[in-house]
């Protein structure tokens, strides 16, 4: 009996998420939570808008502590993210899972979703809304890291900072990329809890 046959026979399903996807997913989840929580505390030291984040949900206790968290977790986020992106391209998973994205399919699936007719029976296949969200959050992740680098090193990486419109503008880009990721998180976690087998697939692989 071939390995694949064994895989298909147990539980009757094939692997949906290979081990590298699951590992990078959960490492990213942890790093993102630390980055977002500490980032909120950093934001509070000099808010861009007329509000601050409740300190009870921010990480690090004070600016110095938050910065230590932020600049520790950044290595985990960036290295893990690079591994994920590299494997995503090299293995062809991004192409297979996320492409093509056509406006027509997105509009049709959004309509289906808001009328609660959107099927998600086959976990191995993403509908157009999922494709847009997953591709979008990967893009937001790239933007949040690049704009973060621009804020961290506006002299050594001044070309990058200039690309974002300068130091001050890069702070806004960094904030909105964070907001996009948090927005994604809310939808993503809600849906994962509504469809528990999708959560199981991200833990056990199938």
């Amino acid at each position: 009996m071939s390995v694949q046959a064994i895989a298909t026979n147990t539980e009757g399903t094939a692997v949906i998420h290979p081990a590298w996807v699951r590992a990078t997913h959960w490492i990213n989840a942890l790093a993102m939570l630390v980055m977002i929580g500490s980032g909120w505390q950093v934001y509070n030291a000099s808010p861009l808008f007329g509000f601050t984040f409740p300190p009870s949900i921010a990480l690090g206790n004070w600016l110095g502590g938050a910065l230590q968290w932020h600049f520790a977790a950044m290595w985990v986020l960036a290295i893990n993210g690079l591994v994920y992106l590299t494997l995503g391209f090299v293995t062809g998973r991004f192409r297979r899972k996320l492409l093509p994205i056509t406006p027509r399919a997105v509009i049709a699936d959004v309509k289906a979703a808001v009328t609660f007719k959107l099927a998600h029976d086959d976990l191995a296949h993403y509908n157009a809304v999922q494709k847009v969200l997953y591709a979008g959050v990967i893009l937001a992740g790239v933007v949040v890291v690049l704009s973060g680098l621009a804020i961290w090193k506006p002299v050594q990486f001044q070309e990058l900072a200039a690309l974002f419109g300068g130091y001050d503008a890069a702070r806004y880009v960094h904030f909105f990329a964070m907001a996009a990721i948090v927005g994604f998180l809310v939808v993503h976690v809600s849906l994962a809890l509504l469809v528990p087998k999708s959560l199981r697939a991200m833990i056990a692989g199938r």
Binding site: V42, N61, W62, L63, G64, G65, A66, Q68, A72, P154
Partner: protein, 257 residues
């Protein structure tokens, strides 16, 4: 364990008030025992009480690792962007851990810039002697660790040229600055020798006002604001890291931009 003196001339109550502004409610300290939040506590107790494998210890180690990463990223020749006069932020903000009326008052007549450490000529410098040094000027962005930034105009003498003039051993690792109110900074020699690192005597072509650090500020557009000391009264060229006011409380040591 490091011994830290309370800052002479600064009202301890004010200091506590300031620390309290930055520090969270003690009740909120449960989550991971407050990373470097304890830093402010050590300021008040006068010694570092944390070492070992606590979350704070690990975070401090990573922060030290980040010092090395930033030193590797630092380019001696890469200049901070400069701006036209029209870009200057007016009024340029006053910023310190005390209020503006608490800023030190230094008497220019008795002021002496003290030099010590790995230097051939340790003669103290009067303000007139310092003002006679060849003038350099810059309009650069001051970036605060809090996130805000402001563009200012600073004039003074090149620190790198001054170090060579007094026969400093530029192979030494650090330059340490002590300030009138007890503030301090240790910086890396590479940054001390950076072409834009300036012993600042003027702001916007006028004698440095008290609020901005009279009689001398060290302006480094390649470092965060807290690494730009004001009211500087002494300098030491050394191979020993003497830390700094905020660095000892948990802000990153290198503080590079």
């Amino acid at each position: 364990m490091r011994i830290r003196k309370l800052i002479p001339g600064v009202d301890p109550e004010l200091l506590v008030k300031d620390a309290a502004k930055l520090m969270p409610d003690p009740a909120r300290r449960n989550f991971l025992r407050g990373a470097a939040g304890l830093g402010a506590l050590t300021l008040l107790t006068g010694c570092d009480i944390i070492d070992g494998d606590t979350a704070e210890g690990v975070l401090r180690k990573i922060s030290s690792f980040n010092d090395g990463a930033q030193a590797a990223l630092f380019s001696r020749s890469k200049l901070a962007p400069t701006y036209p006069e029209s870009a200057i932020t007016r009024p340029f903000p006053f910023n310190a851990y005390y209020s503006e009326d608490e800023a030190p008052v230094v008497d220019p007549a008795t002021y002496r810039f003290e030099i010590s450490g790995l230097v051939d000529n340790k003669k103290p410098w009067t303000l007139d002697e310092l003002h006679a040094l060849p003038e350099v000027s810059q309009i650069t962005r001051h970036v605060c660790v809090e996130g805000w930034s402001a563009i200012g105009s600073w004039q003074g003498a090149s620190l790198g040229d001054f170090l060579k003039r007094i026969g400093a051993d530029t192979r030494a690792k650090y330059v340490f600055f002590r300030c009138a109110e007890g503030y301090s900074n240790t910086i890396d020699m590479a940054t001390a020798l950076h072409p834009q690192t300036q012993m600042t005597f003027k702001y916007d072509n006028k004698l440095l006002p008290r609020a901005y650090g009279f009689p001398m500020k060290i302006r480094m557009p390649t470092k965060l604001g807290y690494k730009n000391p004001k009211y500087v009264v002494a300098m030491e060229v050394t191979n020993t890291d003497r830390g700094g006011y905020w660095e000892n409380q948990g802000y990153n040591w290198f503080g590079g931009l």
